[in-house]
C-alpha cells in the first residue's frame, strides 16, 4: 500500500495548485480518494470527526443493491430460458442476464461519471459520489433489452438536465435515476412498455409473452403467477423490481445503517396499503371495479416497482422531504399516489415512477409548510412575550 501511495503522490505532482494541470486536479483526486481516505485534518471547530463520509454512505446503498442486482440478472436469464422451454442451469441463466446487464452498467457509469468529472473540472469542485448509486440504479430500472445508446442518452439527460442544471449533487429536485427512466419512457415508449420488453429478447421470439403482472391486470387478463412467485421475484420485470424478498434485505441494510429513512419507507407502505384497501372496498360499496381495483392490497406491495421505488428511490435524501414530519407526509403520498396511478391509468401500469417524481416536485412545498409551523411557533412566542410585558407595565 505504501508503494502505491508513493506512486500516487508522484503522479499527482503536476496537478498540485500552481502547477500545469491544476485545473484537472478534481479528476485525479477522485481516483486518489477512491484508493485512500485523504490525510486532511480538521483546522478549527470540531477537531474530531465522525468516521462516516459521503463515499461510505453511497457505497452502503450500492451494497444494499447487490443482492437485488444478482438475483435480477439470474431472473433475466431464467425468464428467457424458461419461456423458450429450453433446459438451462443456474449459471447459464445468470450468464445470460450478466451478459445483457453488465454492458448497461458499464455504459451508465462511463457516460454518467464522464459528465460528472467534466463538471467537477469545469466548476472546480471535487467529484461528488452521488452518481455511484444513480449509475447503478438507472440500468436496474430499465428493460433489459433497451439499446445501449438509448440508455446513454437517458443518462445524459438525467445528469445534465436532472442534476447539473440545478447546481449538481445536493441541489437537484428530481431523483436523477427516475429522471432517466421518465426520459426513456416518454421518448421511446415502445422500448419501455408493452408485453414485449420485460423478458430478455421477447420481441425476437413470438412464443414468449413478456407481460408483467401489472400489464396483464391492466389488460384484464388473469395472472398466471402465485403470490409467492411475486414475492420471491420469479416474474418478468426489470432487473431491480421483481424480488420483493431481496429488496427487503436491502431495506434492512439501509435501515440498520441509518442510511435510508425508515420513516419514508414505512409511511409509503402505509400509503400504498391505504389506497389498496380503498380500492378493495369498492365491491362492498356496490361498485364492481375491475381486475386492477380488485387486486388484493398486499399484492400491490409485491408486484411492479413499488417496493424497489419505496426503498431505493423515495429515500434519496436530496429529492425527498428533508424534515422529519415532511418525510412522513411525503412517504405516505408516494405510496398512496403510486397505487392510485397504477390502478386508474392502465396506460401507465407502473405508477411508482410518476408517483415519486410528482412527490419530488412537492417535497420542498411539504418542507416549507412544516418549517412554517416552526416559524409560527417562534413568532407566537414573541407575541406572547410582548403581551406579557404590556400587562406587566
Amino acid at each position: 500500500m505504501e508503494w502505491i501511495r508513493q506512486k500516487l503522490d508522484k503522479i499527482k505532482e503536476p496537478f498540485a495548485p500552481g502547477k500545469k494541470y491544476e485545473k484537472y486536479a478534481p479528476a485525479v483526486n477522485a481516483i486518489d480518494t477512491f484508493l485512500f481516505t485523504p490525510n486532511h485534518t480538521t483546522q478549527k471547530g470540531s477537531h474530531i470527526r465522525d468516521a462516516v463520509d459521503l463515499k461510505r454512505t453511497m457505497i452502503t446503498v450500492v451494497l444494499a443493491l447487490v443482492p437485488v442486482m444478482i438475483f435480477g440478472m439470474w431472473n433475466a436469464g431464467y425468464q428467457y430460458y424458461s419461456q423458450l422451454g429450453e433446459a438451462f442451469t443456474f449459471w447459464e441463466a445468470l450468464g445470460h442476464g450478466a451478459l445483457k446487464f453488465i454492458p448497461m452498467i458499464v455504459v451508465s457509469y462511463a457516460v454518467g461519471l464522464g459528465i460528472e468529472f467534466a463538471f467537477a473540472i469545469f466548476r472546480g469542485h471535487e467529484v461528488n459520489e452521488g452518481y455511484l448509486v444513480t449509475g447503478l440504479l438507472i440500468p436496474m430500472i430499465m428493460p433489459i433489452d433497451l439499446p445501449l445508446w438509448m440508455l446513454a442518452l437517458s443518462v445524459v439527460f438525467a445528469v445534465l438536465v436532472g442534476k447539473e442544471a440545478f447546481g449538481g449533487t445536493g441541489m437537484n429536485i428530481l431523483n436523477p435515476a427516475l429522471t432517466a427512466r421518465a426520459f426513456a419512457f416518454f421518448a421511446y415508449p415502445t422500448y419501455m412498455s408493452g408485453n414485449q420488453v420485460w423478458v430478455s429478447e421477447a420481441s425476437k421470439v413470438d412464443a414468449v409473452s413478456g407481460e408483467t403482472i401489472l400489464g396483464s391486470l391492466a389488460a384484464g387478463d388473469n395472472v398466471s403467477y402465485g403470490m409467492m412467485d411475486m414475492f420471491y421475484g420469479i416474474i418478468p420485470g426489470s432487473v431491480s423490481e421483481t424480488s420483493t424478498l431481496l429488496i427487503l434485505v436491502g431495506a434492512l441494510l439501509l435501515i440498520l445503517t441509518k442510511v435510508g429513512s425508515w420513516r419514508i419507507m414505512l409511511s409509503a407502505v402505509i400509503g400504498a396499503i391505504a389506497m389498496g384497501l380503498i380500492f378493495n372496498a369498492l365491491p362492498s360499496l356496490g361498485i364492481p371495479g375491475n381486475e386492477l381495483t380488485n387486486f388484493p392490497w398486499y399484492g400491490h406491495l409485491i408486484v411492479g416497482g413499488l417496493a424497489f421505488g419505496i426503498v431505493f428511490m423515495a429515500t434519496d435524501p436530496v429529492s425527498a422531504a428533508q424534515t422529519m414530519k415532511g418525510k412522513w407526509i411525503y412517504g405516505f403520498l408516494i405510496g398512496f399516489l403510486s397505487v392510485m396511478i397504477r390502478v386508474f391509468n392502465p396506460a401507465y401500469p407502473e405508477g411508482v415512477m410518476l408517483g415519486i417524481l410528482l412527490m419530488n416536485v412537492f417535497a420542498p412545498t411539504i418542507d416549507h409548510y412544516v418549517i412554517q409551523s416552526n416559524i409560527k411557533r417562534r413568532k407566537k412566542r414573541i407575541n406572547a412575550d410582548n403581551t406579557q410585558v404590556k400587562t406587566a407595565v
Partner: protein, 447 residues
C-alpha cells in the same frame, strides 16, 4: 425550587484520556497572556505600553466601541509584548509575571446589600465584565444592556470535559457571592443548571432557579438549557457565565481583589499527566503538559469546540481544559468501505463502532473524508435537541438570508451548539464556522 430538563437527542462521546480527579498546583508560568481574539468581535484599545508595570487587576485594554468594558491583568508583572497580527490587529497581550502576585485593591463589598449600579461598576472596573457572555451572538455582553435572565450551566457533558463538581468543590462561599452579584445585574432570574454529579452545595445555593439537567451532550451546553428554560426571542438579551468565573466574581466582592484563578484539566489520549491544575488565566500551556511534537494536536478547550494551540502558546481565556489528541495526517487505504476501520467512532451505523457502546475511542484529527455538498438528511436533528431546523438554518447562513435566519432561530443558537452537528456531518462542512459567520452578519445588519 428545581425544575427538571430532560434531553433525549444528542450524543455523549466516550473518549480515552479522562483527567484524574486530583488537583495539582501548576508551576507559575513565566508569562501570562490575554488574547483579544478570545472575545469575538471585540476591538481592543490598549491603555498601557510595553514595559509598563501592572498589578493583578490593572487595566490592559478596553473595548473600542463599549468603553466600559475593560480587560485586566490576571497577574502582577511587566507588560512584555503586544503581539500583533495582520493589519496590526492585537493578537496577544503578554505579561511577564512577578514571582508573587500583588493585587490592586478594589475594596471589599457585600454584593447582596449593595446598590445594583455599584455592583455593576465594580464588576466592570475589575475586568470581570469579560466573563459575562451574551446570547444571541455569543459575544462579550454589552454592559449597557439589561438581560432578561442570566444562565449558568454547571453541567459538563462535552467529551472529556472537566467535572464542574470537582472544580467547584472548595469554592462554595465565592460561588454564592458571585451569584449574589450577578443577581443585581438582571431584573429576571439567575438560572443554574446542575446534574447528579454536581457538588452538593450547588443545590443549596440561594437566589437561583435550579434546573436538574439529564441527558447526553449537548445537554450541558448553556444554549440548550436556555432553549428549554426560556428561549431567546428577537430583541432579547440573556447573559451567560461559566461556573468557575462566577467564583472569580465572587472572590472580587469577598476580598476586593481580582484573583484570576483557573482550574485547567489536562485530558486526551496523548497527555502524560492527566490531572486538574490550579493555575491563572492565560498561563503557558507548556507548564501543564508534557513536551509534544507536531504529531500531537494541542487544543485549548474540548475536542468539539476548542482552539488549536502551539506548544509555546497560552491557554485561552475561557478554557478550563487542555486536550491532547494525535494528529491524523495519514492516509487510510479504502477508508470508505463500510464496516471497516471500526476503531473510529461513528454515529452512523456504516461503522460497527456502534456495537461497542462502552468502548472508549481514541480519535485523531483526521477529517475522515472530504468536503462535499449537503446530501444526507436527518443526521443533524439527531444530535441537536432544540426546536430548530439545523440544515435549513445552516443553508440560510450560507446564503446570508437574514430574514430566513431570523425566522429559523439564529438568535437561539451559538456555534458550540452546532459542534456535534459538525462532528456527525457526512459532508464534512465546517458548520460552527458557518453559524459564526451567520451570527456576525446578524451583528452588523441587526445589531
Amino acid at each position: 425550587m428545581s425544575k427538571d430538563i430532560r434531553i433525549n437527542r444528542g450524543l455523549s462521546l466516550k473518549l480515552e484520556g479522562e483527567a484524574e480527579k486530583e488537583l495539582v498546583k501548576a508551576p507559575r508560568s513565566k508569562t501570562y497572556a490575554i488574547k483579544p481574539p478570545d472575545f469575538h468581535a471585540l476591538v481592543p484599545k490598549m491603555v498601557i505600553k510595553e514595559g509598563a508595570k501592572v498589578l493583578a487587576g490593572d487595566e490592559l485594554f478596553f473595548s473600542k466601541y463599549t468603553n466600559e468594558l475593560r480587560f485586566t491583568s490576571p497577574v502582577s508583572g511587566t507588560l512584555k509584548q503586544i503581539k500583533r497580527g495582520e493589519k496590526r490587529k492585537i493578537m496577544e497581550v503578554i505579561i511577564e509575571a512577578d514571582p508573587e502576585d500583588t493585587y490592586k485593591d478594589f475594596g471589599k463589598m457585600d454584593a447582596a446589600s449593595s446598590d445594583a449600579e455599584a455592583v455593576k461598576q465594580r464588576i466592570l472596573e475589575s475586568g470581570c465584565g469579560a466573563f459575562i457572555n451574551q446570547r444571541p451572538y455569543d459575544i462579550v455582553a454589552d454592559p449597557k444592556d439589561t438581560p432578561k435572565a442570566i444562565f449558568i450551566s454547571a453541567v459538563s457533558t462535552a467529551p472529556l470535559a472537566p467535572d464542574w463538581g470537582f472544580i467547584l468543590k472548595e469554592k462554595q462561599a465565592a460561588f454564592q457571592e458571585g451569584i449574589n452579584a450577578l443577581k443585581k445585574l438582571t431584573p429576571g432570574k439567575v438560572h443554574l443548571g446542575v446534574d447528579a454529579s454536581s457538588a452538593q452545595y450547588l443545590k443549596d445555593i440561594k437566589g437561583v432557579e435550579l434546573h436538574n439537567v439529564k441527558g447526553p451532550h449537548p445537554a450541558g451546553n448553556v444554549g440548550v438549557q436556555i432553549h428549554k428554560i426560556d428561549p431567546i426571542n428577537q430583541g432579547d438579551r440573556v447573559w451567560t457565565v461559566n461556573p468557575e468565573d462566577v467564583t472569580i466574581i465572587g472572590n472580587l466582592f469577598l476580598t476586593g481583589n481580582y484573583i484570576a484563578d483557573k482550574t485547567v484539566a489536562v485530558t486526551g489520549s496523548e497527555a502524560a499527566n492527566r490531572k486538574y491544575f490550579a493555575t491563572k488565566i492565560g498561563g503557558e500551556v507548556a507548564d501543564l503538559i508534557n513536551k509534544v511534537d507536531e504529531d500531537v494536536r494541542i487544543i485549548s478547550g474540548n475536542v468539539l469546540t476548542g482552539l488549536k494551540l502551539a506548544y509555546d502558546q497560552h491557554i485561552s481565556f475561557f478554557s478550563n481544559e487542555v486536550t491532547l489528541i494525535p494528529e491524523g495526517n495519514n492516509y487510510r487505504a479504502f477508508g470508505w468501505l463500510p464496516f471497516t476501520y471500526n476503531n473510529i467512532h461513528s454515529n452512523s451505523r456504516t461503522s460497527l463502532s456502534f456495537l461497542f457502546p462502552n468502548r472508549k475511542f481514541k480519535p485523531t484529527t483526521n477529517l475522515n473524508g472530504e468536503e462535499r455538498a449537503l446530501v444526507v438528511t436527518g443526521e443533524m436533528e439527531e444530535v441537536l435537541p432544540m426546536d430548530v431546523y439545523p440544515m435549513q438554518l445552516i443553508k440560510a447562513c450560507m446564503a446570508g438570508d437574514i430574514e430566513k435566519m431570523e425566522n429559523l432561530g439564529i438568535y437561539e443558537v451559538a456555534p458550540e451548539d452546532f459542534a456535534l452537528v459538525e462532528y456527525v456531518n457526512t459532508s464534512k462542512i465546517e458548520i460552527q464556522d458557518v453559524i459564526r459567520l451567520g451570527l456576525d452578519l446578524m451583528i452588523t445588519e441587526v445589531g
